[in-house]
Amino acid sequence: MNALSLRGVRKVYRRSHLGRVTETVGLDALDVEVRRGEVFGLLGLNGSGKTTTIKLVMGLHLPTDGAVEVLGRPVPDVEVLARIGYTPESAYLNRALTGRENLRLFAALSRVPARGRETRVAEMLERVGLSRAMDKRLSEYSKGMLQRASLAQALIHDPELVILDEPVTGLDPLAIKEVRTLILWLKERGKTVLFSSHDISEVERVCDRIGILSAGRLAKTMTQDEWRGRPDALEDAFAASVARTDGVGEIKL
């Protein structure tokens, strides 16, 4: 049973400036399936379509073509969002509110019952290590603290599917280790985890399967068996699959 499936998904961005319309293909004929209970890593260079894929899943973008299904329901579907937890690449939280108020807000939005909501908020803040800073405004938080608050809002309603967009980018090694532990903890509890990254070493340590995206297409999928115990197997596969699309050439030595 799939937690998530994208079939033949195409996403074209149309920009119009002074009557001139330009089209950019974000995703092209993308087919991805994520099974329930697995940790799936979306691997790709900048601009390969990782974030676009996640935004389509979350209903923030609409596909130009193809079908997206999440937890058995076609998206966009507001109802299915109650079963998903999402952490974007940066903590887009309201800086005027405190950590506790932010979490209270997302608990209410995620339909955590009013009765017991406060306890759940306190527990979650404790879990992500923010219990001492919970009544400080987010404008006073460090980047690491913001990332933790962002993780807390994704998990506050105990979702079935957790989507983490670049969760380790910009974090210190200790925080990276904590995120890794968290992903494994989620897996143990039977959650499905989809996360995107361009950090191959992180992906290979926690994922059951990976999909390598290149220029908006799924270039390759691999299972853990294909890289476990084989140093450089994932890196080699990645280098062989991707093509730069960001207009940057190789470093020549």
């Binding site: 935004k55 923030l60 507001v78 309201n94 509110l97 997302f106 939005l109």
Partner: protein, 253 residues
Amino acid sequence: MGAILAVFDYTLREHVRRRAWLSTALFGLVLIAGGLVTSVLAADQRARMMLDLGLAAIEAIGLVTAVFLTVGLVLSEIESRAVFLILTHPVPRWQYLFGRWLGTLAAVALGMAGMALLHLALLAALGWSAGGYGLAWSCSLGSVAMMSALSLLLSLALTSEAAAMAFAGFFWLLGHFTAEMSFVADRSGSPFLRGLILVFARAAPDFARLDYRDALHGGAAGGAWAAWAAVYALAYCAACLALAVQLFEQKEF
């Protein structure tokens, strides 16, 4: 309903924290103090002048604050990407928009209520005891609500705070000439021009009709007038918000 309340709550907190009310209250104090000084010159009409100038100041400050707050209400969250996180929770977009608008209106209404209390205390000290204040204040709040709904719509249609503010000012001005515009339209020879003028006359909020401040001394308003004024203001806000939702539903983030 829970989502609307949650969005309403954080919007109100946000405005209160950002001290939107403080500038309003201070400005109100300065204007009312100015009114006091001016009213010394007014001989027998001291209470009347205090009443007029105070109510006019409350409405003007309310309008300016509401327009400033609403043009950036959603655009700022799109820019800071805070809207990403909200909309990846099970929140229908109309509920988000409505909660944001309602929270902002509540913040402005609180500021206006504070000024009104101060104003009423001053009027009581001057021996003013005639009725109609509540209705005049409510009509001002109705105008503020209509302008804020219109500003929200304009901000989503134009996607620029500055342009939305300029157009809001234009419609605000038109709103005092709706009767004159209908008169000009009736005398226009060209059906196209007539239609165009009538469209603007109907699209602009009819402040001239909703204005009870200027008719307060005549004691002209009856229950039927007040009821129709309420229906008009609510329906106008609903129409603006419905169009704003239509635009917002089509946005991709």
